[in-house]
């Protein structure tokens, strides 16, 4: 369980970095907006989780926000990015602060 979480966490970290890289490099014109938006939603998930873990956000909001982000990412050019968000969502639903803290640490881009 822990190992798999770690694994997908790493996958997401890579995804986020890749996204940011692609956005910075400024790839295809039409999809640029979509990439930007996807990267922004992924980063939002990390921030929501971080604030929630500190106790700064109510549970209902954190759950709904993560759910929405997961949906948004599912529609994005990188649907894989939704996976780690679902994981965060699961941890928030279980109110497992430690798991959230760990995931956030792994996901935070440098």
């Amino acid at each position: 369980m822990q190992a798999s979480a770690l694994l997908t966490g790493r996958a997401m970290k890579c995804a986020v970095c890749a996204l940011a890289g692609i956005v910075l490099a400024g790839c295809g014109d039409q999809s640029e907006q979509d990439w930007r938006s996807a990267s922004s939603w992924s980063l939002t998930a990390v921030v929501v989780a971080r604030y929630w873990e500190r106790g700064d956000l109510p549970d209902t909001y954190a759950r709904r926000a993560l759910k929405k982000i997961s949906d948004e990412l599912g529609k994005s050019p990188l649907p894989e990015a939704a996976g780690p968000v679902d994981e965060l969502l699961e941890a928030v639903e279980l109110r497992d602060r430690q798991a959230v803290r760990r995931l956030v640490r792994e996901l935070s881009p440098r």
């Binding site: 939603w41 700064d56 956000l57 881009p109």
Partner: protein, 406 residues
């Protein structure tokens, strides 16, 4: 003494009209995407709206007419119907945005989807207009609106550096990247700042309160002070978003993301402060907007109007805002993304601005209405330039934004 109280009240009430879904959404997006860079747009819009609000008060004082009334008399029904129709359409979209803002705030607080709130919020809004008197409505929302000052407090808590802030306020800049989106946001900000309902509403209020010549000076102070006060808050929203959301790489596409912006400043309180600010500002704006639209209808067709009249005494007036609220609630029920709806409504506002502002400017220079109180050439130029600039930019950037977001 009474007048000083009136001025203070005028300044406070103008926040109700100034900070609304439009300002919050556009400022939050601009700050998150471009940092301080778009502060000049808020400044430009504010200068223009100060002039316009002062003019509409002066017009009411000098001529005894409301603006809609005078446009019809001066230019005729066939000419009035164009700006009237356009303003009504935009007012409806903006009212839907404001209702949407209240509903989203409730969703953020309770976790119940915003569409489910559309009907309860619309009923609450309608009931207030239906049974309460104008003073209660105006002063109540104004006092509650003071909660939005938390954004200003946050700017200080977060320690914004004043020099780059001041520079962005005065010097417009064009980013290397995403120019189309930047222009679209600039236009939306100007549209959110110069809302036509704001000065139409203001002139109706001046007529209802029977302002005479002795109000020329207080009018100037209320217009300047009130609009600056409101501008300060929407600038604060932009700065806070630039300080807290931009470094995280968050671009605001939904209110869920904007809701995070006060957390770094106030912790757990930050979230609730945002939610309450959003709800109060949008609800206040929705009240004013429903009234302003009903005023415009009554003044176009010559009906009885006035918030202090009981619905029985002004049945057409009451029916007008009722219908308006129902239509706006239906738009919210369709489930359109409230933030997208808000942004587009604001950009369209910028497009139609010249339709109301140009005839109004002509009136402001007509000695038969204004006597010795006609506009100076300087204020004509300022307002005409800003409004035309905004409209042209809007016409260019709206199609680009639509293409870009597809």
């Amino acid at each position: 003494m009474k007048k000083i109280l009136g001025i203070a009240l005028g300044i406070v009430t103008s926040i109700g009209g100034f900070l609304d879904a439009g300002s919050i959404a556009t400022s939050a997006q601009a700050g998150a995407a471009f940092g301080y860079a778009l502060l000049w747009a808020v400044a430009l819009g504010t200068i223009c709206v100060i002039f316009l609000v002062e003019m509409s008060g002066r017009f009411a004082i000098a001529s005894g007419h409301t603006i809609t009334d005078a446009i019809r008399k001066r230019f005729g029904f066939a000419v009035l119907i164009v700006p009237f129709g356009a303003t009504m359409l935009v007012n409806l979209l903006v009212l839907a945005s404001e209702l949407g803002g209240v509903c989203v705030a409730l969703e953020l607080a309770t976790g119940i989807g915003f569409q489910l709130w559309a009907i309860p919020v619309a009923v609450a809004l309608w009931l207030l207009l239906w049974v309460a008197t104008f003073d209660v409505v105006e002063e109540g929302t104004a006092l509650l609106g003071l909660v939005t000052l938390c954004f200003v407090v946050a700017v200080f808590t977060l320690g914004a550096e004043p020099v780059p802030l001041a520079r962005a306020l005065v010097v417009p800049s064009l980013p290397a990247d995403e120019r189309a989106h930047y222009l679209f946001l600039a236009v939306s900000i100007i549209g959110a700042t110069i809302a036509p309902y704001l000065f139409l509403f203001y002139s109706s209020g001046a007529i209802e309160d029977k302002w005479d010549k002795s109000y020329l000076m207080p009018n100037r102070m209320i217009a300047t002070g009130g609009m600056l006060f409101g501008a300060m808050i929407s600038m604060a929203v932009l700065v806070v978003a630039a300080l807290t959301l931009k470094p995280e790489g968050i671009r605001v596409e939904g209110y869920e993301q904007a809701a995070l912006m006060l957390v770094p400043a106030f912790g757990r309180w930050g979230f609730y402060l945002f939610v309450v600010s959003l709800a109060v500002a949008c609800f206040g704006a929705a009240l004013e907007l429903s009234l302003a639209s009903a005023y415009a209808m009554a003044q176009t067709f010559g009906w009885n109007w006035g918030e202090d009249l009981k619905p029985r005494q002004a049945a057409r007036f009451g029916t007008a805002y009722t219908a308006f609220i129902v239509l706006a609630a239906l738009i919210v029920l369709t489930g359109l993304n409230p933030m997208k709806l808000t942004l587009f409504s604001m950009a369209i506002t910028a497009v139609i601005l010249p339709l109301t502002v140009v005839p109004f400017l002509v009136l402001m220079n007509d000695r038969r209405y204004m006597k010795e109180h006609v506009n100076s050439r300087f204020s004509n130029m300022i307002v005409a330039l800003i409004v035309l600039l905004a409209a042209v930019l809007a016409l260019v950037s709206i199609p680009l934004e639509i293409v870009g977001s597809k």
